[in-house]
């Protein structure tokens, strides 16, 4: 029996036909039933076969998560639904661009922080930087919080994408 009380966070990886409306179908499934989307990324991953991969981070009780997976799987353009959170070990990454506006000590400190997070400097002006940072979500969040404390910031995050470790390949079934 599925637990209906505890809320969990899951990262799902969904392989779909890249056809018009497919993203609306996926998003509509969540909004129509009141489920959460914490992040969502989508891009074509196989041009020849016109496949896209949607990575979505969602939260809910195990009963809700199970329902979400079944509903995603039921969509006609869906080829596979992987729950990375319960599957074998997996890796997750997110990329963020962070613009920070600051001067003096704060400017020096922001560079030092960027360095320790292995962020790359994509752009600089006399009173600003644009950094690129990648990592798991908590690392990205930590970086953004530090930057926030050093100056005015603007942030763009990609949301999580992920896949399983090891030699298993998710193909069209």
């Amino acid at each position: 029996m599925l637990d209906t009380t505890q809320t969990e966070r899951h990262t799902l990886s969904v392989l779909v036909d890249n056809e018009p409306g497919v993203l609306a179908r996926v998003v509509g499934l969540f909004s129509g039933r009141g489920y959460n989307i914490e992040s969502l990324t989508v891009s074509e991953v196989d041009t020849a076969r016109q496949l896209s991969r949607i990575s979505v981070v969602t939260s809910g009780t195990p009963m809700v998560i199970e329902q979400i997976k079944q509903l995603l799987d039921k969509l006609v353009p869906t080829h596979s639904v992987q729950d990375l959170t319960v599957g074998p070990a997996h890796v997750e990454r997110e990329l963020a661009l962070v613009k920070i506006v600051c001067v003096g000590d704060k400017r020096v400190e922001s560079l030092r922080v960027a360095d320790s997070f292995r962020a790359r400097t994509l752009d600089s002006s006399l009173n600003s930087f644009v950094f690129e940072v990648t990592g798991n979500s908590s690392k990205v969040t930590a970086f953004i919080e530090l930057m926030n404390s050093l100056g005015d910031t603007e942030v763009a995050r990609t949301g999580v994408c992920g896949m399983t470790r090891g030699n298993n390949i998710d193909l069209v079934g």
């Binding site: 029996m1 209906t4 036909d17 018009p20 609306a24 129509g32 009963m63 329902q67 006609v76």
Partner: protein, 592 residues
């Protein structure tokens, strides 16, 4: 489609009809308009597909639903862009909720005008995305055939449902390739719902069945959708186990109403014995039902002592609202056959001693005779009118559709169904105005059968323009209106839940139904007193053409038994005497 196969080129509209012929379509329910004129033009020259002209696009979908539910085939709809498509939306939603296979072709403005707010443009694929199983905006002529074939495959496979094909006018006119022969191979590869149940799961299910001391079979619309063989297999399962069986509103007819194992419908207006059997069971076998809230009542108290096995073709139905001990994914007909074979293999024997005790308890509940009513005096009891209609049509091949309201529940309670596909009602969406157009579709599919729309006067008014369709095709539909001059079900809730404040629920300014029939060249009949009832029913049945029968019933009769919203199965109100003792909780009032 093999690459070497040469394709014939022809206008898209002709491809559309060719594919439909290959899919076995013999009738389309539709309404023309600018954006579908090329298809209408092709239909004009076509001899094998019949077109039934409805009077409103919502009715086209309900007619196709009636056709589909009574035949097991896909119902087909053809409507124009913009208002044609938006008018169809209620029907599509109805078909989605009740899992009815429909393919709906909608016209669309030509491709180059899409997105410009062109005349009669609507974002049909956007509007219908949440109310269809799947939809297409056909953009390329060379995908037309594949898209239509896939649409039929998706509509009828797995859990059936409505599919919309939005067809820009240029796509209908431009030449498109058509390859003679079934070429749906790519479609079949893409959408392949599981239909055969897992063997290990079936083994486990039978093991659980062997432990049952107070079992119940709870069957739903999946039994009907699976085809008549599923009802046949259910019959054998019930015979072999001797288990009590209840059916949902959508499942009626899957087991003959006079089978002694049948407890009647369950749920909000289900029988006392069905609901108490559910409440007290220790094992529940759900066959193609979906734990709808009309069935379960308060979830926290739903069958609290039971182990539950749920067989459903839709994996997302399992554990959606009720957590079960075992889910069986597959076609319910196949599942039943697999269960029967496995019961043989595991030498299943019903536990006679336990069953005797269980049936004794059930017969106790049954003896409360919860559907009893008294026909005293001249005013016709609505229950009586359905009971007599049932008794007087028993020797016929009869198909019943309904509208939504008290009359619908009384029909479910007092009309016995003995075969699947004989009962067409709007369950999930509860769409007033469903029954009349649905009856059109049923009668078109079964010209010789007796087709009766059991109606309420308010619901009838919602799609009564279809009288014109009925007249045009001389469809001998019998419209049996339980006229209580109220939106009875609304009035009942206002009486029970809202302190008898009858806000806007009176059916004022009704037409004279007998004269109305006359204006359409139909027979109109009226029964005003109990003594008239049999004569009116007899005359209605003896009439070759369509009939409107205005049955003036008791105006303030309530529909019982009833599980008030928010209550549990064992908290039923049995009748007016019982009403006072059971008040409706504040949480219950929020529910519908």
């Amino acid at each position: 489609m093999s690459k070497t196969q040469t394709a014939a080129m022809m206008p898209g509209a002709e491809v559309i009809l060719k594919v439909m012929e290959a899919e076995g379509v013999d009738v389309i329910f539709g309404y023309p308009g600018g954006a579908v004129l090329p298809i209408y033009d092709a239909l004009f020259k076509n001899n094998s597909i019949r077109h039934i002209l409805v009077r409103h696009e919502q009715a086209a979908v309900h007619a196709a639903e009636g056709y589909a539910r009574s035949t097991g085939k896909v119902g087909v709809v053809l409507v124009t862009s913009g208002p044609g498509a938006t008018n169809a939306v209620t029907g599509l939603t109805d078909a989605l909720m009740d899992s009815v296979p429909i393919v709906c072709l909608t016209g669309q403005v030509p491709s180059h005008l899409i997105g410009t707010d062109a005349f009669q443009e609507a974002d049909t694929s956007g509007i219908t995305r949440p109310c269809t199983k799947y939809n297409y905006l056909v953009k390329k002529s060379d995908r037309l055939q594949a898209n239509i074939e896939e649409a039929f495959h998706v509509a009828r496979s797995g859990r059936p449902g409505p599919v919309v094909l939005d067809l820009p006018k240029d796509i209908q006119m431009l030449d498109a390739p058509y390859v003679e022969h079934k070429s749906a191979a790519p479609a079949v590869q893409r959408y392949k719902p599981v239909t055969s149940p897992d063997k290990a799961v079936i083994k486990e299910a039978v093991k659980m069945m062997k432990q049952a001391k107070k079992p119940v079979i709870y069957g739903g619309g999946g039994l009907i959708n699976s085809g008549p063989h599923a009802s046949d297999a259910l019959h054998r399962l019930v015979g072999k186990t001797g288990w009590p069986t209840t059916l949902t509103l959508m499942g009626l007819g899957a087991l003959p109403a006079d089978d002694r194992h049948f407890l009647g419908m369950l749920g909000m207006h289900g029988t006392y014995q069905a609901n108490l059997t559910m409440h007290n069971c220790d094992f529940m076998l759900n066959l193609g039902a979906r734990f709808d809230d009309r069935v379960t009542g308060r979830l926290s108290e739903f069958a609290p002592f039971s182990k539950k096995v749920h067989a459903d073709i839709d994996p997302s139905s399992i554990n959606k609202v009720v957590n079960v001990d075992l889910g069986i994914i597959g076609d319910v007909g196949e599942t039943l056959e697999a269960l029967l074979a496995e019961m043989e293999a595991q030498s299943f024997r019903p536990n006679d001693k336990a069953m005797a005790r269980w049936w004794e308890q059930i017969e106790g509940w049954r003896s409360r005779d919860c559907l009893a009513f008294e026909q005293a005096g001249p005013v016709i009891k609505p229950q009586k009118s359905i009971q007599r209609l049932y008794e007087m049509t028993m020797d016929r091949d009869v198909y019943v559709t309904t509208e939504v309201g008290q009359h619908q529940m009384w029909a479910a309670q007092y009309f016995g169904f003995h075969k699947p596909n004989r009962w067409m009602t709007s369950g999930g969406l509860g769409t007033m105005g469903y029954g009349l157009p649905a009856a059109v579709g049923v009668q078109v599919a079964h010209p010789e059968a007796t087709v009766i729309d059991i109606s309420g006067e308010a619901s009838f008014l919602m799609n009564m323009q279809e009288l014109s369709t009925i007249a045009q095709y001389n469809l001998p539909v019998k419209i049996f209106i339980l006229n209580n001059e109220w939106m009875g079900m609304v009035r009942q809730w206002q009486e029970l839940v809202h302190g008898k404040r009858y806000s806007e629920s009176y059916s004022s300014s009704l037409p004279d139904f007998v004269k109305l029939a006359d204006t359409f060249g139909m027979k109109g009949l009226r029964a005003s007193a109990a003594d008239d009832l049999d004569d009116v029913i007899a005359e209605m049945l003896a009439t070759d053409g369509p009939v409107i029968a205005d049955i003036r019933v008791e105006k303030e009769e309530n529909c019982f038994p009833m599980i008030p919203s928010g209550a549990a199965h064992h908290e039923m109100i049995l009748g007016p005497e019982d009403e006072a003792n059971k008040s409706i909780s504040e949480e219950g009032k929020v529910l519908v």
